[in-house]
């Protein structure tokens, strides 16, 4: 056998059979190269085997509790942000669909736009403009959109709001575990 094959025995000593162990011992007596490698490995392994386990520092578990709480809060904040953004996007989609339905309902849209510009011209306060625009918008919606679309839009808005409220409510109980 060449050095390489004995090296295998040398570094896997814990798995050796009695015969292999004897063969290795015999080789170590006659081969200076393998004997040196054996001594060097024995020194390194001796250090590895004699080093005790290092205990966790004092207060480790308490610091973990703090970290867990912070992680939980971060996750809740992220979920809240995500749900709010999705709700806003949902509301925008509903509003766009309503707007589109309004526009495609006929030429009356021009009269509506005209009314809005009139209001904008005569009313000084931005807030009043906003409120008036909203009222005008809703009035026009009621006049021009079929009842079915109006009901569907209300249902969608209610559903989105309900989802958002439920999520916010559940967040106060939910932790960072993966479900």
């Amino acid at each position: 056998m060449r050095h390489q094959e004995y090296e295998k025995l040398l570094f896997e000593r814990e798995d050796l059979s009695e015969i292999e162990r004897t063969r290795l011992q015999a080789h170590l007596i006659e081969c200076a190269w393998c004997a040196t490698l054996n001594d060097q490995w024995a020194a390194v392994e001796g250090i590895l085997r004699s080093a005790p386990s290092v205990p966790a520092p004092q207060g480790f578990a308490a610091r973990f509790q703090v970290r867990l709480e912070k992680a939980r809060q971060r996750k809740q904040a992220r979920l809240l942000l995500l749900t709010t953004m999705l709700t806003i996007i949902g509301l925008l989609v509903v509003a766009s669909l309503l707007g589109w339905a309004l526009i495609s309902s006929g030429p009356t849209i021009f009269s509506w736009v005209l009314k809005v510009f009139n209001q904008f011209y005569w009313v000084g306060s931005v807030f009043d403009v906003f409120v008036d625009m909203l009222i005008l918008f809703l009035e026009n919606l009621l006049e021009q959109l079929p009842l079915v679309i109006w009901m569907a839009a209300s249902a969608a808005v209610s559903l989105l709001s309900l989802t958002w409220i439920t999520t916010v409510y559940r967040l106060s109980y939910r932790d960072i575990r993966r479900e």
Binding site: L48, R177, R178
Partner: protein
Amino acid sequence: MCGLMSAAQRLAEAEYIARARNGDDAAFHEVVNAFQGPVFNLCYRMLGNPQEAEDAAQETFLKAYRNLRSYNPDRKFTNWILSIASNHCVDRLRKRRLQLISLDEWLPRFENPAPNPGPEQTLTDKELQEDVREILDRLGSTDRAAIVLRYWYEYSYEEIAEALSLSVPAVKSRLHRARRSLAEQWSPQSAVFVNGGV
């Protein structure tokens, strides 16, 4: 070194792990108390620095908490959590290696003592810990994890393979390579390593 445990302890452990899996936070606190030692030691041996080891050990428990439902109770809990810790440390070491200049190279070694050196800790203990770090520093991250699991946790080849997602022959070949490289670098005259770490 970290493995021995009585039957009663094992039973109590199984109970609070089961409670923790069902969402009992107090039981998870027990889990942290019971396993902080082995987890911290693994991180310390892997990373060689008490501050980073603490951070890695805390992250390990956080990952365990998040994934507790995926833990299979038929498997030993120690093996499961140490597998999380080993992989987390391997990732950290890989990231550390990606940094062009390691801060460690600029700091003298003695600025990084072992944690909590109690009054009972003698100079020989410190030297021993220093030697261990020097040895482990010479190994790549996965080889280092294999050596730590083998020598501090008396893991079988199969257990190391499972923890590090390797095949058993791959574990054997890694351990062989690591041992050979450490033996070759050791200088018997001065009882130190002869050339720079890998």
